[in-house]
Structure formats: C-alpha cells, structure tokens
C-alpha cells in the first residue's frame, strides 16, 4: 500500500503528518502552504496543541544542552589516542618481522585449507569409478588343483619329455606362484600381516667353456658334502647340450665348503628370499652352468 506523503503545494495534511511537521513549524522552516495546513490542524486539535507545547519545551531544553562543551584537554586526548592507534597499527604492520609472520601465516592457512580439502575429498568414490582394485590374497593347493599356473599348465609343456617337464615344474615351484584359477580360500589381508617365517634359497649361475668338466666336479663335490638332489632330475642334469642344471639340498654346515669350492670355479652363490621354508639345518640350492 502506498502511503501518501506531503508534496509541494499540497495542503491536505493528516493529523499524523502535521504532528511530524511541528519541529519544522517551530523552527519556521515550512513553506507557507504547509504552515497554513499545520495551523488549521492546531486550531482543531487539542492533542496537537499539547504536542506542540511539549516539543517547544523540548527544543528549549535541547538548546540548553547545546551549551555543554568539551574541554580542550579531552578533545586533544581523543585526537591523540586516535592518531596513536592509527600510527601504531601502520608502524606495526610495516615492520619486517610482522610482514614475515603475516605472509607465513597466510601461506600456512592456504596450506592447511589445501590439506584439509584433500583429506575430506571423496577419493573412495573416484576409486570405485575406476573399478575395484582392492587386493585379495588367495591360498592355493598346487597338488590338488591343476588349474594353477605351473610349468605343466603351459601349452608347450605337453610336448616336452617327462623329465624336462618335471625339471621345469621344479623351476616354476621355486618362484612365487601366480593364481589364475579359482582361489581355494580367501584370506583376510589384515591376517596376512601377521609375522611369517621367511624361507631362503641359494642361487648361482656360471658361464664357462668347460661345462662338462666343471659339471662333473660339482656333482662329485656336492655328493661328497652330503648333498642330495631336490627335484625329479638328477644332479648336473643336461637341460640342453649347453647347460647343466643342479637342484639339491645340502646340510647347512657344508654350505661354507661348497661356497669355497664354487668360488674357485668362478661361481658365487647369492641368497634369495623364498616362500618355501626348509627344515632346520638344511639349505636348498639351484645352480646352472652354461657354456659360453
């Protein structure tokens, strides 16, 4: 609803409007038309007359209040405090130490906001869009399930002689098996973190022009030190005409002598971690001697 207000030249005032003009009426700052309109209301309204009297008294009183002054000392104190606060803040902000901490504070705030943003970012949702990549550990029973990846599951293995296939199976068994078939049992990842005893395997390779001589000598020495073949193939099995293969176990106490002997022939053993754990006091060794 639009409230009508006084316009220039308008003389029809409401009592409410006239009351609001009493201050200007007393101050004689009204136009002639408006003054006449207020006069008319004053003649007809006793309440308005009372209001006029009250306002006149109040104006006279406020004129008296205008005689209150403020001492020069207080004015100067206000000025001084005001200026010193401004200059102090300016001076303080210009100091290099303040500037240094000011900018470092800002940088730290930005960094914290960034880190906070990263930690609250829904990474899981993004991961789930890219497919399930959570790790699943499986335990396989190689002897019962032929679907697991071994040398014999390879297509070429079917055509090879039984002995060679057995040797390759042994080689494959020395490496960690990769599950491709149905897992027999899923194991909780947290459970797999429990401390597990670690197995070891000794490996060595030698390239020589005298494969036969060195191979015969190694067989004799291994047997002499109490070594026994570990797989299906005999010690010094000729995998090819140019390579001899040794897979055997030997008592731990004889390992030093074996290492010394092999070192003389130019072969150095290295110890590798392996999933298969040997009985205490026995070590497993795999050697290959290749022709140059």
């Amino acid at each position: 609803m639009k409230i009508p207000w006084i316009k220039k030249g308008q003389t029809d005032l409401t009592a409410f409007q006239a009351e609001e003009l009493l201050f200007d009426y007393i101050k004689k700052s009204l136009s002639l038309d408006r003054k006449k309109a207020v006069d008319q209301h004053l003649q007809n309204s006793a309440d308005l007359k009372k209001s006029l009297a009250r306002i006149q008294k109040a104006i006279a009183y406020t004129q008296d209040l205008n005689r209150i002054h403020v001492s020069t000392a207080l004015i100067e104190q206000v000025q001084h405090e005001s200026q010193s606060l401004i200059s102090l803040s300016k001076k303080y902000l210009k100091q290099p130490e303040v500037q240094f901490w000011f900018w470092w504070g800002r940088a730290l705030s930005v960094f914290l906001i960034f880190v906070g943003g990263l930690s609250f970012f829904p990474w899981e949702k993004l991961r789930s869009k890219g497919g399930n990549t959570s790790a699943v550990m499986v335990e396989m029973d190689r002897s019962k399930d032929s679907q697991f990846a071994t040398a014999e599951s390879l297509p070429a293995a079917a055509d090879k002689p039984k002995v060679e296939a057995a040797a390759e199976r042994e080689i494959a068994s020395t490496k960690p098996a990769a599950p491709v078939g149905k897992p027999k049992e899923t194991v909780n990842v947290a459970a797999s973190k429990a401390p597990v005893e670690q197995g070891f395997l000794y490996r060595g390779e030698l390239s020589t022009s005298e494969v036969d001589r060195i191979s015969d000598g190694m067989v004799a020495k291994i047997v002499d030190l109490g070594g026994q073949k570990a797989g299906a193939v005999e010690l010094g099995w000729k995998k090819t005409s140019r390579q001899a293969y040794f897979h055997f176990t030997i008592p731990q106490r004889s390992l030093v002598d074996l290492e010394t002997y092999l070192k003389q022939e130019g072969l150095i053993l290295r110890k590798e971690k392996h999933s298969k754990i040997m009985p205490a006091g026995t070590v497993r060794v795999i050697l290959t001697v290749d022709e140059k």
């Binding site: 609001e20 306002i55 008294k57 406020t62 008296d64 209150i68 002054h69 206000v78 405090e81």
Partner: protein, 144 residues
C-alpha cells in the same frame, strides 16, 4: 562546520548518548578514526554527513558494550556542563528511549543538522528521521 566543531562534536555526541565517561571516550576515539577514513575516501562529501556516518559507526562498533545501560560520569572528566543545567530530564529520556531516537534528537535538535543531512548520511527516508525526531522531542517534553 569548522574543524574545531567537528573535533568537539564527536566526544560530545557520545557523552549525550551514554552519559558515561568511558563509553564516550572509547567510542569517540573509534569515531574519530572512522571520520578520518571517511574523509579520505570521500573527500568531496559534505563534512556533516561524514561526521554523522562516523558517529554512527562509532556506535555500531561498541553495540554490545553499550547495551548495558550503565551511566557513570564525572564533571572532572572534561565535560563542561553549565551548573544550572539539569540533566535529569535528558537522563530519563536517554534511559527510556531507543538509540535511534536519541541520535536523531542530538544531531537535529542539539547540533542543528538538518533532517535531510541525517537521512542522507544514514540512508534513511526523511520521513523516518522526522518521525524519530518528533517522538524523541515529545518524550523529552513530557518529562519536563
């Protein structure tokens, strides 16, 4: 308006608003700073309007502090009050009236600024300022 009047009107305005030495002093300092800033930002603006805006800002800064209607002032603080002047009527008015009406009465009736200047400074309509002034003066008159 001369510069000395501006300097004097700032603490006087807050004294009349609160009738309290400390409140008046602190808000006068804040208001003086605000006045300098406004003058710097709007050098062309009427000084009276800048003064009204600065005083309004000074009031706003200590809004919560001023909500406590304590009155504690001494004549020795720096207020030069005529001996025959009775402050009781003003004290009653100040206690029982809203700050908006008190401010308008001070600016318009005591300092003599026009209602147009006050309305322009505060961004209010002239009618609102006149209404507050009329109500304020009638309350003072009723108490006399």
């Amino acid at each position: 308006m001369t510069f000395s009047t501006v300097k004097e009107s700032i603490p006087l305005f807050f004294f009349l608003c609160f009738l309290d030495d400390q409140k008046a002093f602190h808000s006068a300092i804040r208001s003086q700073q605000a006045f300098e800033k406004i003058k710097k930002k709007y050098p062309e603006q009427d000084e009276t309007i800048s003064l009204i805006q600065a005083q309004a800002q000074g009031l706003q800064s200590f809004k919560d502090f001023f909500a406590q209607k304590t009155q504690k002032f001494s004549y020795d603080f720096g207020w030069m009050i005529p001996k025959e002047l009775d402050l009781n009527a003003w004290r009653n008015f100040q206690k029982n009236t809203s700050m908006e009406e008190i401010c308008v009465v001070i600016w318009t009736s005591i300092f003599g600024f026009s209602s147009q200047q006050v309305s322009e400074a505060l961004g209010l309509s002239d009618g609102t300022v006149r209404y507050r002034l009329s109500r304020g003066l009638q309350k003072i008159g009723a108490g006399l």
